[in-house]
Symmetry: C2
């Protein structure tokens, strides 16, 4: 395997088994060794319904999984030691009855891939068709050859629907063939993951492991000649579910059909006397409907309506619609990297995952694993707001709006939670499905108050990208106001000796969970400040543009002018910790007082740290799970000057473990911005292949959706250098020297823009919509429909030598315990004394400064 | 109820129901309202075996309880969110089969106290006899009168033995009487507390609540005509238990006897045709034996031997021995307060509890509740070392040695635990029975590294009081060395700008659990420093006095000179945080940066804070659960000058909630020392009546043993002004003006000293042992056997005006957020500029300074 200068593999994927294809993920041989990973990588979903890529015949599997976004069971959280306000209600996504399985017997011999004598095998996840296909040629134990081809699709246009087709043809010899197509409550609600976790001695807090008893209680089953329906209700959360399956068969062979349903299983069995060369085609249409409480019989009817439509329109209708939907998806967000097809494939796989996670979440949240696994228990985190919504806002803003509306609907529970932690306003839960805080470890959970500001950030990001004041003024503003209230109440004022007043936020945890419960976490304070300013700004926008709406919201939420003034005062006086000696932003007020963790001498088998050290040990050191200050530098980039961004990056990069998958791509973006181009590309590769190469050893639990969004962020914000502060797109590109070009699309205020970046130029083309003014390294460029604009560039931007050797400060600290002394070499003095990095000369980037 | 000037009731006990008796706790009417409390207050125990004061007839009860020190069940701790190094094995004391119950039926009507028509009722816990007695005259529903008298004793001399006598006499009328005496595995191992906790919506982290299934598995039962034995093994910890019961009856009435045993019950039934005036006396001898793993049949034999001796010697023999044992106990530790019999009674009740908790713990620990309840799950905490051992060392040092040996035996597990948290040396568990860390909430558990230093403190305290170098050199020193190693490894060196090097300890929690995981907690650093110095000092003592032992321990523990030098260096350079502006010791490095909690405006129903606020909220403020700095000022009093003690006390007292029972008596001691005599007395009263008046509303869970020891500490150290730094007793007394005299006894290096304190003089008398030199306010006094010494005193010591108004500093902070400014009035300037408070003129105390 080839590696880049920083030791990151240039292509960590086995290309014999997974050949490069720009529009598909392809597997050419099955393996038992990484079943869990491939089940995730080839999984299908539409944001509502997800099916892991278990084989039709059922075995072998790591964990069968079919998930419905938000369909969860609740359970009382028993804390080993209880305290007031600890989260009470656990919520875990339920693995719903499996409708994927179609067992295949030839001459009464079951097909079992991992032991079968296969003449051909190919599995394809097609990013344009939105379909999983498998082709197998099997030499049966009796020496016959049979072709088995299957197609599986979870519909983007009909979110309750999944379609499967199985085509079996005897290539050599005749044989009795049995297909037993099932819908099966396989685990009686007991999750295989849970069993696995319990069985093993290890623990991994990132895995779900909750249910010890039946979760899905049968509430009726029904069948007709070609339809089966099973109904369930969860034991504690009371949610209802129905799954219905229709079958049809097309063949010239003789067929006998059987059908039956019981509480936990429905079976449609075809017994076929198959003759060589006479194909058997079985179509299986599956509908899932669920509800928070509607009676199961009503869900039965909904399922019937979904399947009746399939009968009416036929499978091809939905396959065409799927293709059309995806054409539109790719038109809105495809990113092309010239000359590196393996990167191209990986980028598209990640973007496809974003479609599968968000397309039909409709007004549910987007879970950390989308609908591809039960990792993190199917919970919604800040990942959506910090990583996914910025992508959606600028590509498919309707989906961003849906995800944001979900937070609006959680506001009443967020208000309750604020009361529980003795605050005004609203506090969104750190992790949740139903709106209740489900984080049972407050230090790295509830203490992450920054989720309030992340949600506000996403709202403002959407507002900037779309100008959708209708949504903002009617609903979004409520979130801004209630979160601003929390910040104003949570923080407190302090007067220093010289009479200066500042606003402090104590006892919170930032994104980096390797330090917790700190004072004036930089990320939190910067984001909270923006949150407060945003509330003020949107109220001002409302007063200016929609006085009626303004009056309504002020009355409804009892907003006074004094309160709005207080928010401004809090924001303006917010403490932004800065260390004058090191000239960097400490991660929190006392972060620099910690000892430095010696990452270089930490053995690989002791990583990730969280699985090998007691939290107390980790918390005692300067060591990061993931970007924290560096993320703030990106999200609130206009709040920091260029020189300090460099110094901050230099300081934090060497002590960031990247133990979280949320880290690498943010580091890629900021490495690109401050000029470490090689490093940016390395981090990009690490993020790009997180799942495709299972770099964090937990892809089996599901796709890392935030990382997938991070791939887009790294491409567009990192290499494309795009920023959108307040609705105006600007570009300061950093094209990797290895890439001939990078092309991406952006939507801004209704205009879809095609952006092509080469080393020496950028080309902007309006695809649809009206004209748009964008900034390129300080020069304004107006792009009108039908009139592409080419902007010449003078180069990739600054390219600095690598970071190695940049850390004498830290070396000093480690060697003799010296805190900081004047003789510490200044890592980036030239930047400080030179002009600001935002170049005065348009188009020409600033030179590398070291 | 009368109150003192600070609003503390002068006598919070209902004296109609609980009349004053200097040598007994007496109850004159039963009540259903406080069953749990009185079950605790009248409980019997000997440190090994404890029986709650449930009535003979079994009902009514709050919770039947019989506890054996260290007899526990283990269970896997399921953390709601797991992390590396979190405690894995829960340990909970088991409520063992109840042998107290002797059900009484007259005319087939059961006696049920709370509804019975009682002509007389008196329950007495006799501090000199070591016996619980109850006298009842009952008018039965059929109108007869019957006298029922019972006696119950848990033997101090035969720790496996409890004796009960029931005497029933028909006073009016004849009647058939049935006594069903039982030994009963009442709860099948399911603790009533647990059921109660589960049933209620409330939570209280201080209660035990663990078992959902059978804990005690029957391992055989056996009976003969007058003996019953039941055997058990715990389901998971595998501990074994046998309980055996002998019965005899003496009466002239006609008697029929039945006996039977089954796995969970043994019954001895007497059916008596009772005639008026003919007493029935039933004697019940009970033996409990347990083991970590010895077969139950072997325990059966041990029980038989215990009970056979009772048959041989008779009950009176053990009752005499009990009286003799207690005579010796009181000779060693009685404290007399003249003129206040209700205080006298309360003091003796507390001292009696110390006997009941420690007498026969032998080489087990002393649990937070002794053997009187399952509160805190029967765990051992630092309470023993910080509160109980200083009492035992100076009164009954053999018991102190036993408790310290228990820690020595835990050393191997403490070493393992240190490895788990990535440290060298040993880390003692915050709470445990079997030596494994059982604290499931690390922030207020494992993070309390100070337990290491507390144990070392207790070792040194014992060493100072006794000069027992034999124990110290052979065993104790191992603990000092391994704990010193942990401190040297846990802390780290830092060099300041001027080249000064200091030693820092980060990420720990002090005794005050209302702030957690802080840097340079004053208490921890001061105690760790002493720990390091102690290791060095004892090694030096060994080199000087026992070179062989020195060589042995250095070889065994691989101690090098360099290591010992390092300990000295760490200790000498230990950071002791001090705020120059406020001129106080911050509780931790950043404590003073916190907001001040507004205790005055916190409603009573929101106290204790821990039951009404999320930890994150509490941690954000300057508010204390219990004394932290102030405890350091006491335990390491020679490390602080008098003026700063006053300022620190002034600072912390108003922000200390006293939500922990460990707080009031420490505040009493330091209030006395710095001169707040009224306040000292108030705090003393609050501590003295913690259980007797159920001031913390949880006496039902068991006696607060550390608080009971605190009563002695407050009397001897607080009012008596005794300190023992390094084996030399000194006195700077602070007799409350309301008390004519205070008399106590102290044991030092084998000499038992009687100390009588009056306003104008102290009288020292050697009771046994050789002559002793003690210091009184700076003057050395030699007391020889047979030659009492009277030392005239000039007064009680400084008496300051009350603390109210002493907190302008804090007022400033609260009102306008000002951190600290120069214009803050200095609370105790005169003390600073005057001579040190330790008076130069012997005998005459320094005058009050304000």
């Amino acid at each position: 395997m080839n590696h880049d200068p920083r030791g990151v593999p240039l292509d960590p994927v086995d290309r014999i088994r997974f050949p490069v294809d720009p529009w598909a993920l392809v597997e050419t041989e099955p393996s038992r060794d990484d079943l869990g990973t491939t089940e995730t990588l080839f999984a299908l979903g539409n944001g509502y319904l997800g099916m892991r890529a278990n084989p039709e015949e059922g075995r072998d599997s790591y964990a069968h999984g079919t998930f419905i976004n938000g369909f969860h069971e609740t359970w009382p959280i028993h804390h080993a030691e209880e305290a007031f306000g600890f989260a009470k209600v656990g919520q875990t996504i339920v693995n719903v009855p499996d409708a994927k399985t179609m067992k295949i017997y030839i001459d009464d011999e079951p097909l079992l891939l991992t032991v079968a004598d296969l003449h051909h095998y190919r599995r394809t996840l097609d990013f344009r068709e939105g379909e999983l296909r498998r082709e197998v040629v099997w030499r049966t134990p009796s020496g016959k050859r049979v072709s088995i081809r299957s197609r599986r699709m979870v519909s983007f246009t009909e979110r309750h629907l999944a379609l499967m087709t199985l085509e079996i043809t005897m290539l050599e010899g005749d044989a009795p063939i049995v297909v037993s197509s099932q819908v099966l409550n396989r685990q009686d609600g007991i999750d295989e993951y849970a069993q696995r976790a319990r069985a093993s001695e290890e623990f991994d807090p990132r895995k779900a492991s909750r249910f010890a008893a039946r979760v899905l209680e049968p509430r009726g089953d029904w069948h007709s000649e070609r339809r089966m329906i099973l109904g369930y209700q969860t034991a504690h959360s009371g949610m209802t579910l129905a799954v219905a399956v229709d079958h049809t068969i097309e063949t010239d062979n003789e067929v006998e059909e059987l059908i039956s349903t019981e509480p936990d299983i429905g079976k449609k069995v075809y017994r076929v006397q198959a003759h060589q060369g006479q194909p058997i085609v079985i179509n299986k249409a599956v509908a899932y409907h669920n509800s928070r409480g509607v009676a199961v019989r009503e869900l039965f009817d909904r399922c019937r309506r979904t399947l009746d439509r399939v009968r009416q329109y036929g499978f091809e209708h939905y396959r065409d619609a799927q293709r059309t939907w995806l054409d539109d998806w790719w038109a809105g967000c495809d990113v092309r990297i010239e000359g590196h097809p393996h990167l191209q494939q990986a980028v598209r796989w990640n973007l496809f995952q974003l479609a599968q996670a968000s397309a039909r979440a409709d007004q549910l949240g987007i879970a950390a694993k989308g609908v591809t696994g039960s990792g993190y228990e199917g919970h919604y985190f800040w990942d959506t707001e910090a990583y996914v919504i910025p992508f959606l806002s600028h590509t498919h803003p309707g989906l961003a709006r849906n995800a944001l509306r979900f937070r609006v609907t959680m506001l009443p529970k967020a208000r309750e939670r604020a009361r529980e932690v003795a605050q005004l306003g609203a506090l969104f839960p750190w992790r949740t499905i139903n709106g209740d805080e489900a984080s049972a470890y407050y230090a790295a959970g509830t203490a992450q108050y920054h989720i309030n500001a992340d949600i506000s950030y996403a709202l403002m990001n959407y507002y900037a990208a779309t100008g959708d004041s209708s949504f903002m003024f009617r609903e979004g503003v409520d979130v801004l106001i209630e979160t601003a209230r929390l910040w104003a109440d949570l923080g407190f004022w302090r007067t220093d000796a010289s009479g200066g007043r500042s606003f402090h936020i104590h006892g919170v945890t930032g994104p980096d969970e390797y330090t917790t419960v700190v004072n004036n976490n930089l990320f939190t304070n910067v984001m909270a400040r923006a949150n407060l300013w945003s509330a003020v700004r949107v109220l001002r926008d409302m007063a200016d543009h929609d006085p009626d709406a303004d009056a309504r919201v002020r009355t409804r939420l009892r907003v006074t002018d004094a309160e709005v003034e207080e928010w401004t005062a809090c924001a303006d006086a917010m403490v932004i910790p800065y260390d004058e000696a090191l000239r960097v932003h400490p991660q929190d007020e006392h972060f620099l007082e910690r000892e430095l963790w010696d990452l270089e001498n930490t053995p690989a088998e002791m990583r990730p740290l969280l699985l090998h050290y007691h939290p107390l040990v980790i918390y005692r050191f300067q060591v990061l799970k993931q970007a924290d200050v560096v993320l703030a530098l990106f999200l609130q980039g206009d709040q920091f000057d260029q020189a300090v961004k460099r110094r901050d990056f230099d300081y934090y990069d060497p002590i960031t473990t990247g133990d979280s998958t949320l880290s690498a791509l943010v580091q890629a973006i900021m490495a690109a911005e401050v000029g470490y181009q090689e490093m940016a590309l390395s981090y990009f590769h690490l993020g790009l292949f997180v799942d495709l190469a299972d770099l964090h050893d937990n892809t089996a639990d599901g796709v890392h959706i935030a990382s997938a969004a991070g791939v887009w962020n790294a491409l567009v914000h990192g290499f494309g250098g795009m920023r959108d502060y307040g609705g105006h797109l600007t570009f300061d590109p950093r094209l990797p020297v290895e890439w001939p070009s990078l092309t991406f699309r952006l939507r801004s205020h209704g205009t879809l823009l095609d952006v092509r970046l080469e080393a020496e130029r950028m080309v902007f083309t309006v695809v649809t919509g009206g004209e748009l003014s964008v900034g390129v390294r300080g020069r304004e460029v107006v792009v009108a429909p039908g009139d592409p604009v080419e902007v010449p560039l003078a180069g990739q931007g600054p390219v600095l030598r690598s970071l190695e050797g940049h850390h004498p400060v830290i070396g000093d600290l480690r060697a003799d315990g010296t805190m900081i002394t004047a003789e510490v070499p200044e890592p980036s003095a030239p930047l400080d004394e030179g002009p600001p990095r935002l170049v005065q000369e348009p188009i020409t980037p600033s030179p590398a400064t070291t």
